[in-house]
Each structure stands twice: as structure tokens, then as C-alpha cells.
């Protein structure tokens, strides 16, 4: 195996993705990602632990978070999710899927003029709520939307 690749593979386990990104020349030294990859939160099983991992257990329900996702997903492997936050100064949007084995799906941090908007596609194991957390002005807000899944998409 290529020695650099071995170093990178060895480094990934403990050092974290920031170290890997630096080694890979992706980040310039001095330019650091705001947060390192949150391994404990992504590894959390069950929605309570996943929420704890991202500080979302006391989130306030908000009607200003718009979740656009199908009512019924034909293919659980590719479920489109679009989140638009009308909460001023939205800093981050976090996507969780309540009934996935590991509910934390993605964390998006907005900086320097990025809007509180994100759209992507996710895997859902079964019919479940999609739970969104929005961090804005030092507070965390939440909204949810149920998506029915006919064919589960996690491949397990």
C-alpha cells in the first residue's frame, strides 16, 4: 500500500478528518474548520443520544422552519429533503432521522452570508420523522416532518 495512503488511513481513526484534510493539502495551515467531525454524535444510536450529541435536547418548536420532503418516499435510499429557515441569523441546520439506527445525518454550518437553506438527499431505514434543528442567535429551534417509507434505504 502506498505509504502516504497508509498514513492517511491510520490517521483517520484517531486524528480526525481535520488532520486528514490538513495532510491532504485540502486546508491551508491556519485555516481550520470551525468544528471537527463529531464522531460521538454521528455514532449515537437512538434519537435521544443523537440529540444530546448536538445539543438539541431542549430545542424550541418553531413554525419558521420549512421542511420540504415527500409524504411518501418510494425509495428510502434517496429521500430528498429541503430545509428553509426563516429564523434570522440562522447559523446551522442539522438533519436527524428519528428511526434510523444512527439518527444524526448531517450538520450544515452557514458562514459569511450563507442563507439558512439547504437541500440534499438522505437514506431512511423506515417510516420516520425527519427532525430538523436550527441554531440561530444562541438558541436552538426544531421542527419535524413525517416521511413514510415503503422500501428502506440503509442496505442493512
Amino acid at each position: 500500500m502506498n505509504p502516504l495512503r497508509r498514513t492517511l488511513l491510520k490517521g483517520t481513526g484517531g486524528a480526525g478528518a481535520v488532520a486528514v484534510a490538513l495532510a491532504a493539502g485540502l486546508l491551508k495551515p491556519g485555516q481550520v474548520l470551525a468544528a471537527e467531525w463529531n464522531k460521538p454524535a454521528f455514532d449515537s444510536k437512538g434519537i435521544i443520544d443523537a440529540l444530546k450529541g448536538v445539543g438539541g435536547t431542549t430545542a424550541i418548536d418553531s413554525k419558521d422552519i420549512n421542511i420540504k420532503a415527500p409524504d411518501i418516499a418510494e425509495n428510502g435510499a434517496v429521500v430528498p429533503v429541503e430545509v428553509a429557515s426563516k429564523i434570522p441569523a440562522t447559523e446551522s441546520i442539522t438533519i436527524l432521522i428519528e428511526k434510523n439506527d444512527r439518527p444524526l445525518i448531517a450538520i450544515f454550518n452557514m458562514l459569511n452570508g450563507a442563507e439558512g437553506f439547504v437541500s440534499t438527499r438522505v437514506k431512511m431505514a423506515q417510516t420516520s420523522d425527519i427532525k430538523i434543528l436550527v441554531k440561530a442567535g444562541g438558541k436552538i429551534y426544531t421542527a419535524r416532518k413525517e416521511v413514510k417509507v415503503t422500501i428502506g434505504g440503509c442496505g442493512g
Binding site: L26, W37, A77, V78, N100, I107, N109
Partner: protein
């Protein structure tokens, strides 16, 4: 070297709408290979960063449940024609890819 990414940036007033399509298996580590019966190891994008003229505008952390060949759309205010948008990703094995476009 990973397969090329695709990106489309459109400008509405001073808001750039950025759509990216990445090529990546996004293996969860839970799938068994049909022939060998062995678990296919997890292989997935963990970090995605986007910059506008070199300034970070989005930093994302992903787990294994983002779909294969990830699609991502986001918006940045304060953009204008001639600005450069770049998107990079790093996965859990150290693989990486990036794309840059100039807003027309």
C-alpha cells in the same frame, strides 16, 4: 482520484444558488457484498466545505446516511458575477475532491 463533481451556480439579485452533484458510494458499512457475504467497509464523505472568493460560507459534517452520489444545494447572499465558488469534500479514508466555478 475521485470522479469529477458537477456544480451549477445561478445568481438572483445578489444571492448565489449553488447546486453540486458529487460522485461517491457513501457506503454505510452495513451492506453485505452479494458475492462474498462480507460487509463492505464504510466509505463516505465526512466533511464538505464551500468558499466564496476564498472565504468559507458553508462547512458541513456528514454521516453515512447521506445518499449515494450526494446532491447538495445551498445559497449565499452578497455574491456577484465574477465571484469564485469552490466546494471541497474529504471522506473517511482521506480521499478528497474539489470543484471551482466562476459566477457568470
Amino acid at each position: 482520484m475521485a470522479d469529477p463533481m458537477k456544480m451549477r451556480v445561478t445568481l438572483k439579485d445578489d444571492t448565489a444558488n449553488i447546486k453540486v452533484l458529487m460522485n461517491h458510494e457513501m457506503e454505510t458499512g452495513l451492506r453485505k457484498d452479494a458475492k462474498s457475504g462480507q460487509l463492505v467497509p464504510a466509505h463516505y464523505i465526512q466533511l464538505v466545505t464551500a468558499t466564496l472568493n476564498g472565504k468559507p460560507v458553508m462547512e458541513a459534517q456528514w454521516g453515512t446516511a447521506v445518499s449515494k452520489n450526494p446532491f447538495l444545494e445551498f445559497r449565499v447572499k452578497g455574491a456577484k458575477a465574477g465571484d469564485k465558488v469552490a466546494v471541497n469534500w474529504v471522506d473517511n479514508t482521506g480521499d478528497k475532491n474539489s470543484i471551482e466555478e466562476t459566477i457568470k
